[in-house]
C-alpha cells in the first residue's frame, strides 16, 4: 500500500499528461482530464500525508534495487506536506486556466506541460537520491521554460531569455556540486551520504565546499539575495495562470531542497553556514521588500514580495532550532497558498480592467466588494496580521529567534513585515479604493458573458482562501504537523534508518 501512495503523486500527472496528448486538438477533453487528475492528486496526496503522519517516514525502492544502489523515494512529513500543498495549488490553477487563459495558448499543449511540471515538483520533493533530485529539477525547469515562453509575446520572450540562461547556469552548478560530492564520498543516496559525511573518511572542508555549490544552485532557483535578479524580470511576463503557478510553487521547491540538504547532509560546518544563512536571509528580506515598494505594477510588486518571503524561509534554516524549522515549514505552506492566490486575484482584476498598471486601475471595491474582501484576507495573511496565516509563521520564527538571542535578524524580519503592509496598502489604495481615473465606474457595466467568466474566475480564488483561512484560524493541527516535520528533519537518524532499513 505504501508503495502505491508514494508513486501516485508521480504517476497520476504522468498518465494524465499522456492521455492529454492523445486529445491534442480537443481542449475541452484536456480540461476534463486535467480536473479529474487534480482531484485524484488531491485525494492521493492527502492520504499520503495521513499515512505518513500515522506511521512515520515511508520509503520505496524503485525497481527493487536495495537502498544505496537504486533510486529511493522517501516521504516524510515535510515532503508530503509540500506535495499536498502543490496539489491544492494545482487544482486552483486548473480551474483558473479553463476560463482565465486564452484559447490559443490552451491549444498548444498547455495542460500536458502543466501536468508534467506538477510531476517534477512531486518528484523533487519525494526523491531520496541526489542525482535524481537534479533530474526532477530539470523536468520541472524545462516545463517552466515552455510555460514562460508559451505564446511568444515580446515580454514573455524577453523574460524567458533571462530565466532560461540563469537557470541553465544554476543547473550546471548543481551538477558540478553532485560531481564533487560523488568524488569525495562515492555515493548519491541521500541517506548513505548523511552517514558517510559524518564519518572521518570525508574531509569536512571539502564537504562544505560541495555544500556551497548546492547553496548557489538552489539559491538561484529559490531567489536568495545576490542571485534573485532573474525573478522580478521574468515572473510577471507570462499569462497570470502560469505566473501564479510558477511564482507560488517553484521557488519554494528550491527552498525545500535547500532545507533538506542542509539539515541532512551539510550539517558539519555550522560555524560557517549559520552566520552565512542569517546574513543572506536578512538581505533577501530587506532587498525584496524595498524592491516591491518601488514598483507600480500589480504583478511586479507581488514578484518582489516572493523574494522577500524567501528570506523568512531561509531565516528558519539559519536559526536552526526545531521551532525555527517548524516556522519555516509552516511559512512555506502558507506562502505557496497566499502568493498563488494574490497572483490569481491580480488576474481577475486584469480580466475586468485589462491592465496590471496601478495607475490605470481603480474602483474595484465599488464594483466587486467580494473580490476586495478576498484580496484583503490574502494580503493581510501575507503581511502577517494576527488572525491570518502569515502571523503564525512569523510568530514562530520570531520566537525561535528570541530563544537563541539572534535579535538582529528578528528585528529585521519584523521591520520587513511593516514594509510589506505598506506595499499591500499601496495595492489596496490604488486598485481597490481609488476611483478609476478615466471612466465613470457606475456606467461601466459588464456584458453577460463577461460576468459569467468573472464569476467562474472567483471559484479558484475562493477555493484557496478557504485553505488560507483554515491554516490561519485553525492553525493548531498544521503547526503541530510542522513541528513534527521539523523534528524529523533535525533527527537525521530517522531518515537514515527508514531508507537503509537498519
Amino acid at each position: 500500500m505504501n508503495h502505491l501512495l508514494l508513486l501516485l503523486p508521480l504517476l497520476i500527472p504522468l498518465y494524465g499528461a499522456i492521455l492529454c496528448l492523445f486529445f491534442w486538438r480537443l481542449v475541452r477533453v484536456q480540461q476534463y482530464i486535467g480536473v479529474a487528475v487534480q482531484m485524484g492528486l488531491l485525494a492521493s496526496n492527502f492520504m499520503l500525508l495521513l499515512y505518513v503522519n500515522q506511521t512515520g517516514i515511508i520509503t520505496t525502492q524503485l525497481g527493487s534495487w536495495p537502498a544505496p544502489f537504486g533510486i529511493t523515494l522517501v516521504a516524510d512529513l515535510f515532503s508530503s506536506l509540500m506535495v499536498l500543498v502543490s496539489a491544492v495549488v494545482g487544482m486552483a490553477i486548473y480551474l483558473f486556466s479553463i476560463k482565465g487563459l486564452d484559447k490559443a495558448r490552451q491549444t498548444f499543449g498547455y495542460y500536458p506541460v502543466l501536468l508534467i511540471l506538477q510531476m517534477g515538483v512531486a518528484g523533487a520533493c519525494l526523491t531520496g537520491d541526489l542525482f535524481n533530485l537534479f533530474v526532477w529539477f530539470e523536468v520541472l525547469l524545462i516545463c517552466s521554460f515552455v510555460l514562460i515562453a508559451l505564446g511568444g509575446s515580446k515580454p514573455q520572450l524577453e523574460g524567458a531569455i533571462k530565466y532560461v540562461t540563469i537557470n541553465f547556469l544554476a543547473s550546471g552548478f548543481l551538477l558540478t556540486g553532485i560531481g564533487v560530492v560523488y568524488g569525495i564520498v562515492g555515493t548519491l543516496n541521500l541517506a548513505e551520504l548523511a552517514v558517510l559525511v559524518r564519518t572521518p573518511v570525508a574531509h569536512p572542508a571539502l564537504i562544505t565546499m560541495a555544500g556551497m555549490f548546492f547553496l548557489i544552485a538552489f539559491g538561484i532557483k529559490s531567489a536568495i539575495f545576490p542571485m534573485f535578479f532573474w525573478l522580478p524580470a521574468s515572473y510577471h511576463t507570462p499569462p497570470i495562470a502560469v505566473s501564479a503557478f510558477i511564482a507560488g510553487l517553484l521557488t519554494k521547491v528550491g527552498m525545500y531542497a535547500l532545507i533538506r540538504l542542509f539539515t541532512l547532509v551539510f550539517v558539519l560546518d555550522q560555524e560557517l553556514t549559520i552566520p552565512l544563512f542569517t546574513v543572506l536571509a536578512g538581505f533577501t528580506m530587506v532587498i525584496g521588500v524595498l524592491g516591491a515598494a518601488s514598483q507600480n505594477d500589480f504583478r511586479k510588486i507581488l514578484s518582489f514580495h516572493i523574494v522577500s518571503q524567501i528570506g523568512y524561509m531561509l531565516m528558519g534554516l539559519a536559526l536552526f532550532t526545531p521551532l525555527a524549522l517548524a516556522g519555516s515549514i509552516y511559512f512555506i505552506i502558507h506562502n505557496i497558498l497566499v502568493k498563488t492566490n494574490l497572483f490569481l486575484i491580480s488576474g481577475v482584476v486584469a480580466h475586468r480592467r485589462g491592465s496590471f498598471a496601478l495607475k490605470k486601475l481603480g474602483s474595484v471595491y465599488l464594483q466587486h466588494p467580494v473580490l476586495s474582501l478576498l484580496f484583503f484576507i490574502s494580503a493581510f495573511s501575507l503581511a502577517g496580521i494576527p488572525p491570518f496565516s502569515g502571523f503564525w509563521g512569523k510568530f514562530m520564527l520570531a520566537k525561535a529567534g528570541f530563544e537563541i538571542d539572534s535579535f538582529a535578524i528578528v528585528f529585521t524580519s519584523l521591520a520587513v513585515s511593516l514594509i510589506t503592509i505598506f506595499s499591500m496598502t499601496k495595492i489596496w489604495n490604488e486598485v481597490f479604493w481609488k476611483r478609476k481615473p478615466d471612466t465613470d465606474p457606475m456606467l461601466d457595466v459588464m456584458s453577460e458573458a463577461d460576468q459569467r467568466v468573472n464569476r467562474f474566475l472567483h471559484v479558484p480564488v475562493i477555493f484557496l482562501v478557504v485553505f488560507i483561512l483554515f491554516i490561519g484560524l485553525y492553525a493548531e493541527p498544521v503547526i503541530t504537523m510542522a513541528q513534527l516535520a521539523a523534528e524529523q528533519l533535525l533527527n537525521s537518524e530517522l531518515y537514515i534508518n527508514a531508507v537503509l532499513k537498519r
Binding site: E138, E158, K162, T165, G179, Y182, G183
Partner: protein
Amino acid sequence: MEVILPFLIGILFTSSLYLILHRHFFKLILGLILFGLATNLFLFVIGRLTRGGSAIIPKTEDMAVEPFADPVPQALLLTAIVIGFGIQAFSIVLIKRVYQSFGTNDLDDMNTTDQIEEKE
C-alpha cells in the same frame, strides 16, 4: 592525460562564462554550450579515469576484476548530456525566436521587463 583534463575544464568554464557575459546572442548560445560541456567533462573526470577496464563481471568471477571504471559517473554523464542537449536545443530555438521578433542581437536591448512603470 589526467593532468591536462582539469586545465581543460578550467579553460572551458572561464571561456563559457566570458561568452555568456557578452552582449551578442550568438555568443550567449556558444557560452551555454561550452558551460554544459565543462560540467559534463568535470563529472566525467571526477569519477576517476580508468582505461580499458569495463565494469562488466566476467562469467567466471563473482565480481568485477580490478581495475575497472566506475560505471555510476558514466551513467550520470549520459543523463546529463541528454538533458543538456534538450535545454540547449530549446534555448537556441528561443533565441532565434527572440531575434526574429525583436530584430536585434544585442542583449542590452532586453531590459524592458526590468523597468519600473511611471506613476502618473
